[in-house]
């Protein structure tokens, strides 16, 4: 596994670099402020004349979500590098802190970035409890924040904040269109299988909103479950024509491996939320991947647009592995920062103007058209209905079968 460990080492190495850069930047920044006071500098589009723009990223580099955090970090760095690490006349400095998967750790790291490192902006949060836990602090400190993964619906609803924008998804988004699609095209007799925590039950609820068939059973293993035999028997006993699943990471690995060993999918079709059949899972389980699975997600590796081709090619050549949806979210998060900074020409002192610029960011993303919904501060996603196939050169990837344009969280 030389590639993956290189990529991982790369993160640590870069950490060291950024810390040194911060010191240098501090000196340079002081010098610039001195000059500015004399009225001798004007921020311009070309060079970097303003003070550094510090982005504090709270992302897991250890514990259960380490792989997701690494992907998002890689994606962010890829776009910052592409933009020359500057925007609006300011140099961009990325400060990384380990979110782990623990709300109090994530909050402590957030406070450290805000209070000690004086970051201009915060980004990250893979786990929903971490994002929800840091939300009040970020809101009270009026800190512009981009959530790069955490999908809890509540962050776009009761707990939405005028300082917090989400570039990833709400749990409602990928599953809501799937209900109607599965009922019309796959089967009306479905058993639900979802990890028994907020994201799983939110996805299941969104699916049920549009599903017109019969739900035969709801099988709810706990998060981070190991042995699925009991749950597989429960699925079998309900005699469904199809399942709709929400599992990700090691849960998806374990379930699909064990389901394959007892040939569960011989006459049961697999549908679900796309996270469970992304590259992290299919590369780990190889020929136990549920080929033919129909899943909804706001991206697919094989999406045929120029931005996606540029992104996946650059990611492969820089990190030596296939990009996944999390890397794409990191890439877009970095782009929102760059676009917003350019729009205000690097002047972030007027926080309201800067937030307005973030809200107005629109671009062609690898996922399609990227824009925020002004009602929820959540990204409006195209949802792709994809089929898992074995590609001769890429291995297991998802191919788009249908597209539901502009899926926006209902906000309540």
């Amino acid at each position: 596994m030389p590639n993956s460990s290189d990529a991982f080492l790369g993160v640590g190495f870069h950490d060291a670099l950024t810390r040194r850069q911060v010191l240098q930047a501090g000196l340079a920044g002081a010098a610039t402020i001195g000059l500015a006071a004399c009225g001798q500098t004007e921020p311009t589009g070309g060079g970097t004349t303003g003070p550094d723009f510090k982005v504090g990223a709270v992302l897991p580099s250890s514990k259960v979500y380490a792989e997701l955090g690494t992907s998002i970090t890689n994606g962010m760095k890829l776009y910052f590098d592409k933009a020359g690490n500057k925007a609006g006349g300011r140099k961009i400095v990325l400060l990384l802190e380990d979110e782990e998967a623990t709300p109090d750790v994530a909050l402590a790291k957030t406070r450290k970035l805000v209070e000690q490192d004086n970051v201009d902006m915060v980004a990250g949060y893979v786990a929903s409890p971490d994002a929800v836990g840091a939300r009040d602090y970020l809101d009270q400190n009026a800190m512009p924040t981009l959530i790069a993964n955490a999908g809890a619906n509540v962050l776009s609803r009761a707990k939405k904040s005028s300082y917090i924008y989400r570039t990833s998804f709400s749990n409602w988004q990928p599953s809501h269109p799937m209900g109607a699609y599965v009922a019309e095209n796959i089967s009306k007799k479905v058993t639900l299988l979802y990890a028994n925590y907020a994201a799983g039950s939110e996805a299941a609820a969104a699916f049920k909103e549009t599903f017109t068939g019969t739900i035969l059973a709801e099988v709810k293993p706990p998060l981070n479950n190991q042995d699925y035999s009991t749950y597989i028997s429960q699925i079998r006993a309900s005699k469904p024509e199809a399942i709709y699943f929400f599992l990700s990471g090691t849960d998806a690995n374990n379930f699909f491996t064990q389901a394959k060993q007892v040939d569960l999918f011989a006459n049961i079709k697999v549908t679900g939320a796309g996270f469970g059949v992304e590259q992290d899972v299919t590369q780990a389980i190889g020929d136990k991947s549920p080929v033919g699975a129909i899943t909804g997600l706001h991206w697919a590796y094989t999406l045929d647009n120029k931005e996606n081709k540029d992104f996946t090619t650059a990611y492969k050549s820089k990190y030596g592995r296939l990009a996944d949806v999390f890397a794409m979210q990191g890439y877009d998060t970095a782009r929102v920062i760059i676009e917003a900074l350019n729009a205000v020409k690097g002047k972030t002192d007027d926080k309201q103007a800067f937030l307005k610029a973030i809200a107005a960011v629109k671009f062609k993303s690898p996922r399609g058209d990227f824009r925020f919904d002004p009602a929820t501060n959540n990204v409006v996603n195209p949802i792709y209905i994809r089929e898992l196939v074995k590609d001769p050169s890429l291995g297991y990837v998802n191919k788009v079968k249908a597209t539901v344009a502009s899926v926006a969280d209902p906000g309540q």
Partner: protein
């Protein structure tokens, strides 16, 4: 056994299990032979276990449980970071060994053949352990060690060697388990934590210092784990700990543990 005989609380036991799985993964990557991996992992872990016992544990037997918890907890952190540094954070999976890929139908119920193999294999290991524990000289020495360590020393048994051997053997068994579950549960940094709690529960339920207790405890906890979700739906974790709580209330020393 390590806990019972040596009175060492080894939180790194989960790490041995994880390391075994990764040794298996490496050997499989090089040779492509599952059975070779199944032999290599316990051998490697046996050596590592002996090294750790001689270099670290020997110094702290007298320091009490707190010191041991600190040391072994430190080991878990070091091992998991080493693994992540070498193999990355992603999940790997050991391929199911050839011949055991399919499913078997017995009385209308479908079993994965690999799972049947795991059950058979585990029963064999348990049987061998039980026989060795009850019938062999080494088993007798170990049982004597659990009962009265000082007396055993006075009888001219080299306690140091017994301790090193026990520790190394325990590590080897954990490594073996890591490979056996690889095709079934996946191999990833963090698998150590996921098993450790279960193992401690099994030991506490079964009773310290007794192989029979450990076997009985694992059967009981395994059943609770499988039936819990059906009966209690949504209280899987609770069902395991409920069994532990009841056992502790009725027999604080564990099902087959000796009285303190």
């Amino acid at each position: 056994m390590i806990f019972g005989l040596m009175d060492v609380l080894n939180l790194a036991h989960g790490s041995f299990y994880m390391l075994g799985a990764y040794v298996g993964l490496t050997v499989l990557g090089v040779t492509g032979n599952f059975w070779l991996a199944l032999i290599a992992a316990p051998v490697a872990l046996c050596v590592l276990g002996a090294l750790i016992e001689v270099v670290f544990f020997r110094r702290i037997y007298r320091e009490g449980h707190l010191m041991q918890v600190l040391l072994t907890f430190g080991f878990t952190l070091v091992f998991v970071d080493l693994i992540r540094w070498r193999f990355g954070p992603q999940t790997h999976s050991l391929p199911t060994p050839p011949g055991l890929e399919g499913a078997v139908h017995i009385l209308g119920v479908t079993f994965a053949s690999y799972k049947l193999f795991v059950i058979l294999f585990a029963s064999m290991v348990a049987l061998v352990l039980l026989l060795a524990w009850r019938r062999s000289r080494v088993g007798a020495i170990l049982r004597a060690g659990v009962a009265d360590r000082e007396m055993l020393g006075l009888l001219g048994i080299d306690l140091k060697r017994v301790f090193t051997g026990t520790f190394a053997f325990g590590a080897a068994l954990a490594g073996l388990a890591g490979v056996v579950v690889g095709p079934y549960l996946g191999v990833y940094p963090g698998m150590d934590e996921s098993i450790l709690v279960l193992v401690l529960v099994v030991v506490v339920v079964g009773g310290l210092g007794s192989i029979e207790g450990a076997i009985l405890g694992s059967l009981l906890i395994g059943l609770a784990y499988a039936i819990g979700p059906l009966v209690l739906g949504g209280f899987e974790a609770a069902s395991i700990f409920a069994v532990m709580a009841i056992v502790l209330l009725v027999r604080p020393q564990g099902l087959l543990g000796r009285r303190q």
